[in-house]
């Protein structure tokens, strides 16, 4: 793959142009069954085992609408602050493609179930950016094709293709933004932040697996540039195959620099579909169609219109969980966090963990210090997500409690946590097994202090002379003698008492 592009320096792009974005996200719902038939909606089954006359588009078969999918669509719409249609229909989008059994996609056209909403997304510096939502509509997924005989399993050069229709008819919600303007140089970041926010939202709603790697969340990025003095949008390209959050950012940035170079050289942007290549970070054109596709939409006669009652919509509004940004706002207020602290907390993916630790008795500051400052590093070292660490908020709260009561030092506490992470059981069991109790028995400590003072008479003399700062050396010796299991503060008190 060696495509050579003239790319413009990013700073120069921003100096000359304003980017305009449009993001289309397809979400596979994780309902039990498909959109229009009772076949199981499961990822990764044996080919053509989750199929029936309806999702194979067999003659005579008819669609029946999954009520749960409609419910999910409305909940997504509400969470995106959309209006919910009083009455809407499905439409047929007609075009031929072998992965689409009926050669039309049952979708929604001019009557989406949800429209006119917005999503406030948090940027890296903690500021909010409002992305306006044009619509969220219901449709069905296509089957999957496997291209055989080509050099690399890609479509070009393949001798024939093999089709598996297990995915055909899986419920999809397509969420389309209005043109996103005013991002300036932050366009790539806004794109990523939007998809991230959407992913978190859909996860909170529990409507989708939102796995970009498995295709249950897919993003198409429309990018165009407007010259600084222009009043109309430029020609846009639509980049598909953007399969990770990082790719969203890279694809937008790449298109901006590619388009800017063309425009500055006096060229024209071709309105086309482009594909993002993860390995090169570049986009390449899809097949250009001789003529613009005419999808010949018309209302789907095999399905009845949907007219969600306002009571139902309100009932569904009542089922919305606390949405991610509401929760963030709330914890910031409750825990008195600065914007930077909140950002660190969110970026660490630790909001829920810290909250649970606070619920288990810790203060927000203590909980944050453990999860954000310490355990994030542990997770990184172990190559897992923070939430995947083998320790619970309750266990962290226990450890924090032991430190506060003086039974553990911070150093010992970290060792206890390590033990829990290593699978040695509850904190108490780790303490027991590793013998990590702080030595708080004064007689044992007094003995160690006396021994240390005897071993270093010159230091002892200095302390007796009132040079209290010299006590540090004796504290160190005592700590060493007790293998760190002494409370340093108490040791210091005993030394000073002994020498006065």
């Amino acid at each position: 793959m060696t495509s050579v592009y003239e790319l413009m320096d990013y700073a120069e792009v921003i100096e000359r142009f304003d980017p305009v974005l449009g993001l289309e996200v397809h979400v596979e719902l994780h309902t039990n069954t498909k959109m229009f038939c009772g076949c199981a909606n499961v990822f990764g089954g044996e080919p053509n085992t989750q199929v029936c006359p309806t999702c194979l588009g067999m003659p005579g078969a008819l669609p029946t609408l999954n009520g749960k999918a409609v419910e999910s669509a409305i909940r997504i719409g509400l969470a995106l602050n959309c209006e919910i249609a009083e009455w809407c229909r499905f439409a047929r989008k007609n075009y031929f493609y072998p992965d689409m059994p009926k050669n039309f996609q049952t979708s929604q056209y001019d009557e989406p179930i949800a429209f006119n909403g917005f999503l406030d997304v948090t940027l890296d510096d903690g500021s909010l950016f409002r992305v306006e939502i044009e619509r969220a509509h219901m449709e069905e997924d296509t089957g999957k094709s496997l291209h055989v005989g080509g050099s690399d399993g890609r479509i070009h050069g393949a001798e024939h293709s093999l089709l598996d229709y297990n995915r055909a008819g899986v419920p999809l919600i397509e969420i389309v933004t209005k043109p996103i303007e005013g991002t300036g140089e932050r366009a790539p970041e806004v794109a990523r932040a939007y998809v991230t926010a959407l992913r978190d939202l859909l996860k909170a709603l529990d409507v989708s697996d939102v796995r970009m790697d498995q295709g249950s969340l897919r993003c198409d990025a429309n990018v165009s540039l407007m010259a600084k003095d222009a009043t109309e949008f430029g020609t846009r390209t639509e980049t598909k195959n953007v399969n990770s959050l990082r790719s969203v950012e890279r694809a937008v940035r790449f298109e901006m620099t590619r388009q800017a170079a063309i425009l500055v050289a006096g060229g024209k942007i071709t309105q086309e579909t482009r594909h993002f290549d993860e390995s090169t970070g570049s986009t390449s054109p899809g097949r250009t169609k001789e003529t613009a596709e005419d999808y010949r939409y018309f209302p789907e006669p095999d399905l009845t219109p949907i007219a969600p009652s306002r009571e139902w919509v309100e009932e569904l509004r009542g089922t919305l969980p606390e949405l991610p940004w509401e929760r963030r706002k709330r914890v910031q207020d409750e825990w008195s966090l600065t914007d930077a602290e909140l950002r660190d907390l969110v970026n660490a993916g630790a909001v829920d963990l810290v909250a649970a630790t606070v619920d288990a008795g810790a203060t927000p500051a203590e909980a944050r210090s453990w999860w954000v400052a310490y355990l994030t590093k542990e997770a990184n070292n172990r190559g897992v997500e923070l939430s995947e660490l083998a320790i619970t908020p309750a266990q962290i709260a226990t450890v924090i409690g032991l430190v506060n009561s003086g039974e553990l030092t911070n150093k010992l506490a970290r060792e206890v946590v390590t033990g829990v992470l290593e699978g040695e059981g509850e904190p108490e069991a780790v303490i027991e097994a590793r013998g990590l109790k702080v030595v708080s028995d004064d007689s044992a400590l007094e003995k160690a202090v006396d021994e240390a003072l005897a071993a270093q008479p010159d230091v002892a003399a200095k302390i007796r002379d009132g040079k209290v700062a010299a006590a540090g050396a004796i504290v160190g010796a005592v700590m060493k003698a007790t293998k760190g299991q002494a409370d340093a503060k108490r040791v210091r008190e005993l030394i000073i008492a002994r020498c006065s």
Partner: protein, 99 residues
């Protein structure tokens, strides 16, 4: 009203995936023209204030419960296929965009 040209018929045939012959182009151009002129009379009474009817019966909100029903077996699914391979439908190479 419209006069359907051979080119337009060819375009429609392409959209509809019909590899029509030259003779058919001539035949259909003439026939479509006559038919379309005749049916265009619907415009005479279809004024802006009339709502369109897409469904004969005014039903709404017909939903299915989200409960799995048995699927066809792979063998049954593929039984009528012109060609199959590895449990999949085998089709000629697909030109076009990458999916």
């Amino acid at each position: 009203m419209p006069s359907i040209s051979r080119d337009e018929v060819a375009h429609l045939a392409r959209l509809a995936r019909l590899a029509v012959t030259d003779d058919e182009l001539d035949l259909f151009a003439g026939q479509l023209d006559v038919i379309l002129q005749s049916v265009a009379t619907v415009g005479d009474i279809a004024t802006a204030d009339i709502p369109p009817t897409s469904h004969a019966v005014p039903l709404t909100n017909v939903f299915r419960e989200d409960v799995v029903r048995p699927s066809l077996g792979q063998q049954q699914a593929l039984a009528g296929a012109p060609a199959a391979e590895d449990g999949r439908f085998r089709v000629p190479r697909i030109l076009g965009e990458e999916a």
